[in-house]
């Protein structure tokens, strides 16, 4: 793939490249990520840097082993984006080895063993996240309430190093994310209204002032980034919209059925990884269907699975599992959901002029 092919048409210039797409996605993630850094301080920045740095190292090693061009493929931005997505979906104060193991799984098992860029079946960041969640449930579900940079209790850079590398015992209250606590407490038979007492605050969720992973919280910033990508024609609206609508429909139906057990659509849309996932992870071109209709099918399936897993399965955070399941279905969707060819019926026969197509 690296040799320069003979010049073939069309010749018209178009400023589009894989690297440009990857960089723009990262640019769109920047506001939400920066806000995450502000909320969670130095530990989260250090964790982020370790994840990206180790991912690049794994990527280069793999490319060298596969004898592919490091200058072309390591710099295409795909490994950085994968690591970025993984990093911001981790708890802000997770230990350093979680980051390293995670990026190793993402790059090596999630992407390179399949043959590198464009060949993987599953989204690498989600593969790593799920592997970490199953293997290290404690570290992966220990969340911190936000302590912003300005406040007195915020950890300094050295404190951050200490927290991430486990040498300091920083005094912080760990707690569960909202979806976590709903899951646990409903399980214990409490009513939803009591659990959410003082926690129900869509405004705070939208702004990101809630207990979450580094970059999952600020729903509004994530939406803004996602919408910018749609208008920049980097992603399409099909998956985000169909997923969000499906989740909202499911949540509303069940909430109306029994409001004391099933949280409303706001909870599902604005908390957890919903916004990050629908705009930045589910739209991963490699692992989502190619046709617009296929993408809508994918989005509907994703939304349904997210709701089902969040509501009835053992894990509170359904997004990563749902994405992996839909990734597995993508080749099937691509096989059966195809556009109709011009001048032909859906079956592929030439149109019969005496009938309506």
């Amino acid at each position: 793939m690296t040799q320069i092919p003979p010049m073939s048409g069309p010749y018209l210039r178009k400023n589009k490249s894989v690297r440009r797409s990857m960089l723009l996605v990262m640019a769109a993630l920047t506001p939400a990520t920066a806000y995450g850094f502000y909320l969670f301080g130095w530990p989260s920045i250090i964790l982020f840097c370790i994840t990206l740095g180790s991912a690049m190292i794994f990527e280069v090693i793999c490319l060298l082993l596969a004898k592919r061009s490091v200058s072309i493929f390591a710099l295409d931005g795909s490994a950085l984006l994968t690591a970025w997505l993984l990093a911001i979906s981790m708890p802000p104060w997770a230990p350093w080895w979680i980051a390293v193991v995670g990026s190793g799984i993402a790059i090596i098992i999630g992407k390179q063993v399949f043959g590198g860029l464009g060949q993987n079946v599953f989204n690498p960041a989600m593969v790593a996240r799920v592997a970490l969640l199953i293997s290290f449930p404690l570290e992966m579900t220990t969340y911190m309430p936000p302590i912003d940079f300005m406040s007195a209790g915020a950890p300094s850079f050295m404190d951050g190093m200490g927290i991430i590398f486990g040498t300091a015992n920083f005094d912080a209250v760990s707690s569960a994310s909202l979806l976590d606590s709903i899951k646990t407490n409903i399980g214990q038979g409490k009513a939803l209204g009591d659990i959410m007492e003082g926690q129900y605050s869509p405004v705070n969720w939208a702004l990101g002032n809630s207990i979450s992973s580094i970059g999952e919280g600020a729903a509004l910033l994530l939406i803004a980034g996602g919408v910018a990508l749609i208008f920049g024609r980097i992603i399409t609206w099909y998956i985000p919209v169909s997923t969000l609508v499906t989740i909202a429909v499911f949540a509303t139906i069940f909430n109306l059925y029994d409001g004391s057990k099933y949280p409303d659509a706001m909870v599902h849309l604005l908390s957890g990884a919903t916004m990050l996932a629908v705009f930045f992870i589910a739209t991963d071109p490699v692992t989502s269907p190619m046709s617009p209709k296929g993408q809508i099918v994918f989005g509907i399936g994703l939304g349904a699975l997210v709701y089902i897993i969040r509501t009835w399965a053992a894990y509170p955070e359904g997004m990563s599992f749902a994405i992996l399941l839909m990734n597995a279905l993508t080749p099937l969707i691509d096989r059966y959901v195809r556009p109709r060819i011009f001048g032909r019926t859906r079956k592929g026969d030439p149109l019969n002029l005496s009938e309506k197509p």
């Binding site: 399409t236 269907p289 190619m290 691509d334 556009p339 060819i341 001048g343 030439p350």
Partner: protein
């Protein structure tokens, strides 16, 4: 008028402002003209002049051969220097039979046929005149126009669509033609309508050409039956079947023609050529060519004689400021690279482009990331990435099963691909392979039929032989028996019976 939606399509950077405001200039007769004898789809024309002959401007120099073919005329007066192979304006640079003409500078016309009396010209007469004038589709397809003007005899036609979309970037030759030769173009359209026997015509112009639209609309103000329509500037709007869909909402069946819907599409420059042939008796010996691209010092539109070397045309345009990264004939989407500067302008050459590195697509091919941009943009509803994956594994039959033959090679998928995969190249390759396979299969089928026939013949021969042998033996036996009865006596009743049998066989 309602414009219907077409599937997919790309919004391109038109880059027409380089030449759109410039008046058509006449390219002077060059020192030498190379006139290829095949400038059209179909059989090549046959030369009827020979080396050393003096020919007049407009004189027939090669006659059409077969139904789908077009004659070729001398672009100016001069001496035939050579009839032989010369590189064609095709990326392969393969030689085609070409007539080389040395102009004498007098530009003396041959006696042209009388203009047709359009008040009583029949459709056949108009089509014949167009055929004699060697007119071919000037949008680049170069299909002999007379064949398409004769469709009224076989189809129930309702409408003529004039394609003034000019959806290829850079090109402005049709745009300028519609602005500067409005009236004559409209008369040409009327003649075409008469030939086709239709009373309605739509002239489709992309929304990025408001001046041409205005000119044509004013020109048609008092003309019945012709409507000028704005169509959105979306590539490939100029594709015949898509244009018809945008204008009428009707979809041409696969493998069919727009004539199945009662519609015939002709290019606007063809209409002008028809005017010249019908009203002036002039054959097609020149055309307007857009010379553009950032390397060209003085881009513009030039009325150019067929056979003019590209090098002369570029010289006329002020030359090139630097070595171009790519030289093209046609537009940047579907145009073809020119192998060398000596190749001539032909009837289908709408443009000559000399492109800079910075105005060309990136050539660094990356792996497919499955983004689906190509699917969204495909005007035919194909899955280019799936096709390319199959063709990449030499699975051309697999590609055939998902519609590679329906691909119109417009290049939209290739244009939007962020990985710069040469998708159209893949499809053209597959189409070539499939065509080869078809020919091979046809040959095999023919061989099989021949072989079967032969086997049957052999068998029959064998049977004949055996029957003859059997007859012979039976006859002999009968004769022997007859002899025997004759000698033994006539008391045996059976013997007589047998003889009769024997006689029957005879």
């Amino acid at each position: 008028m309602e414009i219907f939606n077409i599937q997919g399509g790309a919004r391109l950077d038109g880059r027409k402002s380089l030449t759109a405001h410039l008046k058509i200039l006449t390219m002077p007769t060059p020192d030498i003209l190379h006139v290829p004898l095949q400038q059209h789809i179909g059989a090549p024309a046959e030369p009827i002049v020979s080396h050393g002959d003096y020919v007049l401007k407009g004189q027939l120099i090669a006659d059409s051969k077969g139904v789908v073919s077009a004659p070729v005329h001398a672009p100016t007066s001069g001496t035939v220097k050579r009839i032989g192979d010369f590189p064609a304006p095709h990326p392969s640079g393969l030689p085609v039979l070409t007539l080389t003409l040395e102009p004498d500078g007098l530009d003396k016309w041959v006696k042209l046929p009388e203009p047709l009396d359009m008040t009583k010209a029949t459709s056949q007469e108009i089509a014949d005149r167009v055929a004699q004038a060697g007119i071919v589709g000037m949008g680049g397809a170069t299909f002999p126009s007379a064949v398409k003007l004769n469709l009224g005899q076989r189809y129930n036609l309702e409408m003529l669509v004039i394609n003034g979309a000019e959806c290829e970037p850079y090109l402005t030759c049709d745009d300028r033609l519609m602005q500067e030769r409005t009236e004559k173009t409209i008369i040409g359209i009327k003649a075409m309508m008469q030939a086709l026997g239709v009373s309605k015509s739509l002239v489709a112009i992309e929304a990025n050409k408001p001046e041409a639209f205005k000119a044509m609309e004013e020109g048609c103000a008092n003309v019945a039956g012709i409507d000028i329509v704005h169509v959105p500037a979306r590539y490939p709007m100029g594709s015949e079947k898509h244009l018809v869909q945008a204008l009428t909402g009707k979809e041409t069946p696969a493998k069919g023609m727009t004539a199945d819907l009662g519609i015939v599409v002709h290019n606007v420059a063809t209409a002008y050529a028809v005017y010249e042939a019908v009203y002036l008796g002039r054959p097609l010996i020149s055309r307007i060519v857009t010379v553009s691209g950032e390397v060209i010092r003085k881009p513009g539109n030039y009325d150019t004689l067929i056979g003019t070397p590209v090098s002369s045309l570029i010289e006329m345009s002020g030359g090139m400021s630097e070595e171009p990264k790519q030289l093209l004939m046609g537009g940047p989407m579907m145009g073809q690279p020119i192998p060398e500067l000596d190749v001539p302008i032909i009837k289908g050459s709408s443009g000559i482009l000399a492109l800079k590195d910075t105005e060309m697509k990136d050539q660094n091919v990356m792996p497919c990331i499955g983004c689906g941009s190509c699917v969204t943009v495909c005007p035919v509803g194909l899955l280019p990435l799936d096709l390319a994956a199959r063709i990449g594994h030499e699975d051309v039959d697999g590609a055939d099963s998902i519609g590679v033959r329906d691909c119109v090679s417009c290049g939209s998928c290739n244009y939007v691909c962020p990985s710069h995969i040469p998708l159209v190249q893949y499809f053209n390759y597959a189409k070539g392979r499939l065509k080869e396979q078809d020919i091979e299969r046809k040959n095999q089928d023919r061989m099989k039929i021949l072989a079967e026939k032969r086997a049957l013949r052999d068998e029959n021969d064998q049977l004949d032989l055996e029957r003859k042998r059997a007859d012979k033996t039976a006859f002999k036996q009968a004769m022997v028996k007859m002899d025997a009865t004759a000698t033994v006596g006539q008391h045996n009743e059976n013997a007589g019976h047998k003889t009769n049998n024997g006689m029957d066989i005879q």
